[in-house]
Amino acid sequence: MPQIELIHVSKTYRDHVSVRALSEVSLTLEKADFAASVGPSGSGKTTLLNLVGAIDTPDSGIIRIAGLEITATPASRLAEFRLRHIGFVFQSFNLFPVLSVIENLAFVPALQGMPKAEREARAERLLAEVGMGALRDKRPDELSGGQQQRVAVLRAILPEPDLVLADEPTANLDSENAALLLDMMGRLNRERGVTFLFSTHDPAVMSRARRLIRLRDGRIISDEVREP
């Protein structure tokens, strides 16, 4: 069963003018894929991530994630679906400023109802794994951009979702921090079998992706699978 399946998905934004963001897109991603959607601004990369992440709805088409047809799932159940199955990494980190690193990591497990001791133990183990244990009690504003984005990735990974969606995760990082971040995501992908789907302009990300989905004007113009 594919991890992600899109069948003839279209999305048009109607504001002052109508903009067709995705047009009849069909796509499947398997478990443990490490894929990047690339293309110029306005090509539909972020829209694709939003639709797959169930935070936006298509005008037409079918989307199945981890076996659930989210396009036929009521909005009231989608929050629970995101909580259990999807991790997000945002371009501008979006950590909660009033929570420490360990509390940020434990936020989603807390929503899932995991006991405090267990979620904090898991967060500490994960931090230690990536060599960031010393940062556990820091607040986001005490971290560098690279550190914040790595914490954001760990926050997405900790609940062990089926899928992590990362929107331009390296856009605000220098090349050294971007490399560190990609190393970490690659390792999590290999060792834990987490599926990653990025949207990116960054050649560094593209070079590491095992699958490149090129978008232009809301359509997939190429879908290249590469050997690791």
């Binding site: 997000f88 936020f107 989603v108 929503l111």
Partner: protein, 408 residues
């Protein structure tokens, strides 16, 4: 627990704004507690003045006397009443009186008066009239036909101490009664009605004047507080069941006083409503700004899987934390101010003339602090804050994550 932590820290994230909001809540609450305390103290004092001016907390008459006072309607079964009334719970004093109307005359003038026949020893336990004597002395059973008159009546009659006064009445048997008395004392109660229209004399003299024999018109009971009226009334009703008497609390005897207190309460509630409205606007502004500034954060929360009700909970908890701080500070400030003013007294002597017309003879108001007042005020403020926060909370919960995350 995590949400409480987030809420508490979010409150301190915008320290100055939060402190201003807490201050608004606390000052509003403190004002509410103080004003309620002043109102309660003012009302209690009015009631106290009235009951001590003569009516007592409870009056007992023959049934029908209140509706149609008549001299012949004397209390039935006086021995039973004289046994039961002194044993009333919360009783401070009890006075059996003779009441009637008549004409007081001197060589110079005459005036219609209310005649009250008292036993000085028991009357002292119910009223404060003995302490209002400004010339001469209070009545004494040893004196021969003494009367105690108000200062204004003395002026209008042109009567001074030891002067003669003739009281002319229609007696119970229909005859005209006229007897000579001497002014033993002049009082100034502060109540215009008492000072110009009442003559006190010994009960035995009044019984003679009105040809009542041993008849007594009313029993006036003074209790430890107006809160005790219901319990005392229940006791008297049970012990006097079957006797043709009416047991009347002060607010039936003086309905005007109760209506004034109710009207005053209504004005107070209008002020409280305006106050709560002002507090609400302040809270709404704070919470709306707080929500607006964190649209992206709420979007991220929801994208990560937070449900709308959890977002509502977070915003409500933040407002609840502000309200708790405001209520704690406000209750402390309000209680302290009430206690302080109760200790020093609120001097209204500048308005004494107007106050005396309302039955206020003591011009220093002492606010009352009651736990009920503080608890009700605190809960009301908490409720108002939480209700007001509901609107921005629901607005936050209705954000679409995809749009909220893009919010700058």
């Amino acid at each position: 627990m995590l949400f409480w932590q987030m809420a508490w820290r979010n409150v301190w994230r915008y320290r100055r704004r939060s402190l201003l909001t807490v201050l608004t809540i606390s000052l509003g609450l403190a004002f509410n507690i103080l004003m309620r305390g002043i109102g309660d103290g003012f009302h209690e004092q009015m009631v106290d003045n009235s009951v001590r001016a003569g009516i007592g907390h409870i009056e007992i008459h023959r049934a029908g006397y209140q509706r149609d006072p008549a001299l012949l309607k004397t209390l039935p079964d006086l021995p039973l009443l004289e046994r039961v009334a002194p044993a009333t719970p919360h009783l401070i004093g009890c006075s059996f009186r003779v009441l009637g109307d008549g004409l007081a005359s001197t060589a110079e003038n005459s005036s219609g008066v209310r005649i009250i026949g008292i036993v000085p020893e028991t009357e002292r336990t119910v009223t404060t009239i003995n302490r209002a004597v400004i010339a001469g002395q209070f009545l004494d059973e040893q004196m021969s036909r003494p009367v105690l008159i108000g200062e204004r009546l003395a002026q209008s009659l042109g009567a001074g101490l030891h002067d003669k006064i003739v009281l002319v009445v229609q007696a119970a048997d229909g005859s005209m009664g006229a007897q000579l008395f001497r002014v033993a004392g002049i009082f100034r109660s502060g109540s215009p009605d008492l000072d110009r229209g009442v003559v006190y004399l010994l009960r035995k003299d009044a019984q003679s004047l009105f040809s009542l024999g041993d008849g007594v018109t009313e029993a006036a009971l003074l209790l430890d507080s107006s809160e005790s009226v219901a319990a005392a009334q229940r006791y008297l009703a049970s012990r006097l069941a079957g006797a043709p008497v009416e047991i009347l609390p002060w607010y039936v005897v003086e309905p005007f006083l109760r209506q004034f207190i109710q009207l005053d309460d209504a004005f107070f509630y209008i002020i409280v409503l305006i106050l709560f409205f002002v507090i609400s606007v302040g809270i709404l502004n704070t919470v709306m700004m707080s929500v607006f500034e964190r649209v992206r954060e709420f979007g991220v929360m929801m994208a990560l899987g937070a449900k709308p009700r959890q977002v509502v909970r977070l915003v409500i908890q933040e407002s609840g934390a502000l309200a708790l701080l405001g209520v704690a500070l406000g209750a402390t400030l309000g209680s302290a101010a009430t206690i302080l003013i109760a200790y020093t007294g609120l001097d209204l002597s500048h308005y004494a003339a107007g106050a005396s017309a309302l039955g206020i003879t003591t011009t220093v108001i002492r606010p009352e602090l009651t736990s009920q007042n503080v608890i009700v005020s605190c809960l009301s403020v908490m409720l108002v804050v939480l209700l007001v926060a509901l609107y921005p909370a629901i607005k936050a919960a209705r954000l679409r994550p995809v749009e909220a995350i893009r919010h700058i």
